[in-house]
């Protein structure tokens, strides 16, 4: 793994159009700016892992659709509900 040392306000490039900027650091937190084309997804690792875990568990569902409807069926007001 390439390891770089940067100071606050300094940056580096990955390829021609991705710039990573160190904005701020305080204690064990570092604030990073990412300047990248919008087609490049940027995701926090723990979120990606949580989404993957959720899907694996959901794919192991043993209930059938009717059981889900039964669990859902008693819900009051559906369509009008605001999230």
């Amino acid at each position: 793994m390439l390891v770089l040392t940067r100071k606050k306000g300094e940056s580096f490039f990955i390829g021609d159009d991705i710039e990573i900027i160190i904005l701020e650091h305080q204690g064990d937190k570092i604030k990073i700016g990412i300047d990248a084309p919008r087609k490049l997804p940027v995701l926090r690792r723990e979120l990606l892992e949580a989404a993957t875990d959720f899907n694996r568990e959901a794919a192991a569902l043993s209930a059938d659709l009717q059981s889900l409807a039964d669990a859902f069926g008693t819900q009051p007001s559906k369509k009008d509900k605001k999230f």
């Binding site: 490049l40 979120l47 959720f54 794919a59 889900l68 409807a69 669990a71 009051p76 509900k81």
Partner: protein, 146 residues
């Protein structure tokens, strides 16, 4: 097209129910084609299967978010909008994945990682919403209660 479905076995699926997922879904990136299947035994059931065409065991129970909320329409990240050929003004369909684990009898829905479908191009993708407002486990109110 014929596919093997987890609940119904081998079934014929119309082209209009088939969606291409260029990146699969999280944890199942090699699954590029999914069918959206309604409950064959109960037409009024809002739950559907998002069934991989490749493996009958890769199957998710999903709900069209519009069934539950009138205002669930999180912004689709630019990368995903491009992937699905969504233009500004196009209305995507949001499916949320449900789970009802055996050990826990309360149903929950993943509002943080919806499956976004573009019915016009029949392309789909799962997104992760960075916005903390959307929970990964949204529990429906307890049975009978409000």
């Amino acid at each position: 097209m014929q596919i093997d479905a987890k609940e119904s076995g081998r079934i014929e699926v119309p082209e209009t129910s088939l969606f291409t997922f260029p990146q699969g879904v999280y944890g199942f990136q090699t699954h590029r084609q999914f069918a959206v299947l309604k409950d064959r035994k109960n037409a009024g059931n809002p739950f559907m299967w998002l069934q991989s065409a490749m493996d009958k065991n890769v199957c998710f129970a999903v709900l069209d978010a519009a069934v539950l909320f009138q205002d669930y329409c999180p912004p689709v990240p630019g990368a995903v909008a491009d992937l699905l050929h969504l233009s500004q003004g196009d209305t995507p369909q949001y499916l949320v994945i449900a789970n009802l684990p055996q050990a826990d009898s309360r149903l929950f829905l993943n509002l943080k990682c919806p499956v976004v479908l573009n019915p016009a191009t029949r392309l789909g993708a799962q997104v992760i919403l960075e916005d903390e407002h959307y929970p990964m486990r949204y529990y429906l109110p307890a049975k009978g209660g409000v």
